[in-house]
């Protein structure tokens, strides 16, 4: 029983020690992946923002299509900021790893705003999209200002 407990504790400790980036073979793979996911996310975000603000003609189908990508893409980059990915071909600031609670808070703010923007994009009403971006549109800039060089 003692041995079993020891095994459980050891396994749990090992799991906790695994960086989130353990799913990437090399740190540079994680960096490439998170930059790619951010590019995809940013492209579809920008199209929705453009439609919300009238820079791109509003189209309900296009809004819903972009929202469907944003809904999946916004969750992807964050697991690729493991402790072993601080240097390399990246503009990530060291604050990400020095202030993990603050970085997590920025992630959670994004996770709170995106579903509102997605719902507004699916409503088929440009005014809903405009209101959603007026309320939550600053969430990218907030994170970039603090955590991107």
């Amino acid at each position: 029983m003692k041995r079993m407990l020891s095994l459980v504790v050891t396994t749990a400790a090992l799991l906790l020690a695994l960086p989130a980036s353990a799913q990437f073979a090399k740190p540079e793979d994680a960096i490439k992946y998170r930059k790619s996911a951010l590019t995809v996310m940013g492209t579809h975000w920008a199209r929705l923002a453009g439609m919300a603000q009238g820079r791109i003609p509003y189209d309900a189908k296009a809004a819903a299509d972009n929202a469907a990508v944003l809904e999946v893409a916004h969750k992807l980059p964050w697991a690729a900021f493991g402790a072993d990915t601080q240097s390399g071909d990246t503009k990530a600031k060291s604050e990400i790893w020095k202030e993990p609670a603050k970085f997590k808070e920025a992630e959670e703010r994004l996770f709170a705003e995106v579903p509102k923007i997605v719902a507004a994009a699916r409503s088929g009403k440009q005014d809903d999209l405009k209101a959603a971006f007026a309320a939550g549109g600053g969430v990218c800039k907030n994170c970039h200002d603090n955590f991107r060089q």
Copy 2:
């Protein structure tokens, strides 16, 4: 009436002349976007392939999660291969634009295989995933061999 018809014809001609990449401000934006979308797609594809082939421990929840990303991501790169994106920071072969029917066929083959892989990943059975990759796993290589330097 004649003037109206002329306007309709002119508008239709303009729409047809618009490259698919018109949604990107610059050709280099389209190239960056499609490379990013392919990286995201390829990462989640590789995780599913790894689980199918036993290189990564099979986990039903992880399989379903990766499938959800693949389902969205595999549709993204193709609109970013507009006529104005043939040169630049890209490994795309000129065959993409010289043989558009063949490229379209490769795209359609992907669109036929991915839903089967996604369904297999959602079944919760490793054997289903293995069978889906045995049948359709060559679809990436097929396109890379023909259209990527």
